[in-house]
Structure formats: C-alpha cells, structure tokens
Amino acid sequence: MDWLPAHQDFRGFLRLAREPSPDRLEKLAALAQHRLGFLETIQLDRALGPVCGESPQGFSSVRLAILASATVDHLVPGIRVSGLRRRLLIDVHIGPYGQYRQQLLDAESPLHRLCPHIVLLSLTAREAIVAVPLTATPVEADAAIGRSIDELRMLWRKARETFHATVIQQTFLNIADPLFGSYDRLVAGAPAQLIAHLNERLSQAAAEDGVLLLDISRASERDGLDAWFDVTRWLQAKLEIAPQAAPVYGDLLARVIAAQRGLSKKCLVLDLDNTLWSGVIGDDGPEGIILGEGTGIGEAHLALQRYVKQLRERGVILAVCSKNDPAVAEAVFRDHPEMLLRRTDIAAFVANWEDKPANLRRIAEQLNIGLESLVFVDDNPAERERIRQSLPMVAVPELPADAAKYVRCLADAGYFESVVFTTDDSRRGEQYSANASREAFLESSESMDEFLRGLDMSVTFGSFQTVDLARVAQLIGKTNQFNPTTRRHSVEDVARFIATDRCLTLQFRLVDRFGDNGLVSAMILRPDPQAPDLMEIDTWVMSCRVFGRQLEREAMNIAAEIARRMGVRAFRADYIPTPKNGVVSELYSALGFTLAQEAAPNDGVTRWFLELSDYVPHSTHIARRSE
C-alpha cells in the first residue's frame, strides 16, 4: 500500500477520532487515507464500529455478504477500512464457514434476511480439484473443471435472482506446490495446472454472465504467493488469505465495489518537470531535459508516458497542472521528438505560476467533473502535501523517489478500477479533444444561441439496444451530477427494464460538427402499478460532457411524444438531492413540470408532475435522427 502516505501519529489521531463528535466519521475517513498495517487496520475498524442503518451525509452504505469455503473473518477490518477510504460504509455479513451453498439456497438463512447489495464468493480451489486424478486427460480435466464452473454459475444465478445482488467472484489462489516442476504446465491433471485452468474457465464464465472478479490470483503474482498465503495460518485456522495481506485484500475488493458504484477516479492530472520528463524545462530548455531512449532515467519517464497514454485509451481523462510558462510547456508537447504524449491527448492543460489547488479546481471545473474524480501525480512532496491539505478529496499517490517505479506506483494504487470497457471509453480521449475545438468555437461565437446553432447538433435515439447495455449501465453507474434519483442499476437490471412490458427506455447519442459525443444520456420510465397511464421517471442520467447543449430539453420532447403515443397521460418525477446532483435541482421546473410535493424536511426530496396534454415541446437547436 505504498501509494498511501504514512501517518505521523496514528495512535494519537485515532484517540482523537474515537471521541464522540459530529465529525467523528470524517476524522476516521481521513485516517483511512493513510498507509495502515495489519494492526492499525484492526484498530481503525474497531473505532469505526457498527455501520448498519442510515448512512450519514457524504457516505453511502453497502451490505456485503461473503460466502466462503475458508475462514474470512480476519478480512473484515481491511474491507471496512478500505470502504471508508472511499466513503463507503460496508456492513459485512459472513455466512457460516463452508456453508455457502446452503446459505444461498435456503430461503430461511440469515443471508436472506440481510438482503445484500453484493455477494462475494470467496472460495478455495481445493474442492474443485480434489477429485481430479493426476492421470486425467486434458478432456477429462476440462470436464471436471467445467462441472465446478457450472456449479458456480448456478450460485451466481441464484444470488442474482434472489437478491438482485451484484456478484463478485474471487479468483483462485494457486497454492498448489509443484509436483513435476516446470513440467507441471504440460500435465492436465497436475494440481497447479488444474487451478490455472480453473481460473481461465472462471474468467470466461464471468465475462459471459456479467459477474465481476476479485483477482487475488493476479495480486499474488504481483506480491509473491508468500505475501498472500501463509501455510501456518491455513493449518491453524483455515485462513487461506494471509492476515498480512488483509489490508490489500480489502482495498482490492473496495475498488471493485466503488467502481461498480461509479466512484472510481476519472481524470489523471500530471505535473511536468521531473514527472513526465527528467529536468526543469524552464531552466534546462528542450535540449536539457532528459526523456526517451538512451538513458535509464529517460526511459523511465517515457515508460510513464506510455502507461498514461494507455490509460487514455481506456477512457481516463488526462490533464496537466504545472508551474511553468504555458508557451514553454506546450512547446515540449509540440516539438520534443521523444514526447509520446501529444498536446491533443491532454483534455485540460494548465501551466502558470499559481497555486496548484486553485489550478486543480480550475481543471475540475473545465472538465465538468468533481474534484473527487481527480488523481494528482507530482514528484514534489511539498506540492503533494499542499493538495492533500487543501483538497483532501483529490487522490495523491505517494510517488516513489525513483522514477523507474512511477508506473508501478500508479498501477498498484488502482484508482481507475473498472467494471466495464465500452467503445465509448476508448473514444473518450477524442471526445475531450473535440471539446477543445468546441470551446474555441464558443469563444468565437457572438452568443450562446449562435454557438448552439453553429454546432449542427443532432440526436439519435431509441429504446435501449442490447449492444449498448454495458454503456447504458456504465452511464447509470457513473453519473453523479445529472442524475435526479441516483438509482444505480446493473446491466441485468437494465436488461430487465427492456423486457418489462410498458416500461419505456430511451438512449440518446449526440453528434455535432466536431464529432460524435457518444451515448450520453439514458432514461428509464416505468408505469405506476396503480395508474398505468401515469409514468414515473425512475432514472435519467446525462454525461457532464454535454451539459448546456439543450439535450435535456430535446430528450424530454422525445420522451413526452413517445409516451403520449403509448397512451400515457402524465409523468411523475422525483428529485432526490445528493451532495453532487445540485445541477438538476431545478431541472423539472425548467422543463415545465409542476411541483407536487415540497421538499421533505428529512431528505429534501421533491416530487414533480407533468400533464402530457399540457406539454409544449421546447425549441432546441438539435435535429432528430431515429435509431
């Protein structure tokens, strides 16, 4: 956990944080941002105490059930502390040791009363391989592994059908000792080979079934098996995961849970001097900085650029925040022959002599994302500390002194954990680059109206398409701002809405003269069970990339028109305030809905109505194209 900063006085701060006070949870969450060992993790977890029930402002609660075939109680502190690190209060329920099947299948089991959001299957490989003889042919071995996988799939299905829970399956630690040595890989029935095979089939099945993986097998390759498996603990108490690995285990799991809830980081903000290259461009000049092949240090910085470029290709937004003359800094991107990152790769480029916290605010504003979506990478410990102090919501990895280890540090921190990879992700970089052209156009436009008219926008719409399900679910999962209800729906949930009679689902793509913005909005409307001609807007999300383009008006025009044709009389919509969705607090009033229910004192929820017969379509500059 080297990317987290060490705490100077953990015990002292823990004592303070234990005392009852209104910001007790905030203090504990701040402590969780530090590098904690095995014992410190247990201490912090104990100070956190039970977390069931309503979650306080700024935190959300998660009910997690772990079904395990080994002892996993020692993993709970790491899981809860890693959740706290992401402002998730995780209520962990552990089924009785080894009884995971009964727990799932028996409707009377405590698991069923808990009704978990997430079911984690944490199983050892032993059961799956024990009955396979060493002499098994490849076909026999595959058949035996296939039976284990089929059983898992049955359990996954059961967990989903019963709880509508997200299922996370832990990959299998390959704890088998070599039997033949290197030749093991050529013997289908060799235990180590069986477990490798099991993991391979598991990944395929998970991909097909849309189950998420917790890849501790990969993590144990990273850290070494001894870091993850301690045979003494296994023999003593059937702990398959070594207690020393518990803090990391918890972080790996919390990443997946956070990613599924749209809480992964979105943007990587990079310093320049001694981060992207070695040297100071302002002092050393373009010939003086070291970058590229020929020297180890030059290659180290190039390796970081290569990794960052790959992150961009998978959808991470890139930004630059540097204390430099902007013209000098930009010239490196334009003219330096060894630069791998180009100026067009950077969605927000801020180089000046101002304070970095102010610049990070500017970047977040410019990209229209929250500060909590930023990761700030800087080699300078003083700048890092400055950001941690003034913007604690920004993730700041404790970059190692050796530039050779920058990539590893960034990769280990897992800021950009994902649960899906769509074509929209791979094109996000281009889309943000196109935004720069849009901004230039906006500046040259006389008025907002002229700008919008000149964009030549068109919307493509239709009900949810099967090929777009992953993107729709991602948009629903990740959108925090334009999201009046903040209801999260998994891919399976979304698929259910399509199949449900009389539900209206709509997806919108926005294209303009600068490019395709991709699938940027989705809407789910469901009929009221009591009054079928009344439809509720269960979910409506829109990417922050297209705010201010009148898409919400055109989307409502389209929804109203289609619903009217379906015989719907009125829409009902709730606005459920969160710390992040203030941007839509006036959405429904602006669209012509009438307030039916004033803000409730406890949660501030407002309810809105729209009689479709009264609806006058809003005029927009968006042309329509049907999908």
Binding site: L39, I42, Q43, H74
Partner: protein, 96 residues
C-alpha cells in the same frame, strides 16, 4: 500492492525480555482497544478478557510483523503463557 513490511527500528538483538514484554503489552492493548491490559511473563490467554482464539492469531501475526520473526506451527500452539512468547521471540530475533 506492496504489503507493509515491519518497520525494524535499529538493532533489536539488544532488547531485554522486559522490552519485548512491553512491546507485547502495547500490541495487545492496540489489538483489543483496551489500555487497562497489563501483561506479565505469567499471564495466560484466559486471564485477559476478549483474548479469544481469533484475537490470539491476530496477536501472533502482529508480533511476528513487529519483530520480523516467524513462529512455527507447533510453537504457536504450545505457548503456555506470555513469558513463553517473550522467550521464543528473544531467541529468534534477527540480529544485524
């Protein structure tokens, strides 16, 4: 994803049994969030409230991590009292 390594502060081979006992006391207090715990060489697990078998394993892990030592599977099960842990720790402390 590096696991936190034990922070070895200087040369531990000069530690006395009392030093080790003090360290074990601090570890157990941290582990059980109970600053009233006082360990002696004669203390047994049953003498300390909440020091159950689960907390015992956590304790052993924390001690191993603190001192950079590793107890054998038979040892962990045979420690009769805190003194036995202190003496064994002292015997296998890494020297520099």
């Amino acid at each position: 994803m590096c696991l936190t390594l034990p922070i070895l502060l200087g040369d531990r081979s000069s530690m006395t049994d009392q030093d080790i006992l003090n360290a074990l006391t601090r570890i157990l207090r941290d582990l059980l969030s109970d600053d009233s715990i006082v360990l002696t060489m004669e203390t047994k697990r049953d003498d300390v409230p909440n020091w159950d078998s689960f907390a015992y394993i956590s304790f052993i892990v924390a001690v191993e991590s603190e001192f950079g030592v590793k107890f054998g599977v038979a040892e962990v099960e045979s420690f009769q009292n805190v003194g036995a842990i202190v003496r064994r720790t002292s015997a296998i402390l890494p020297t520099r």
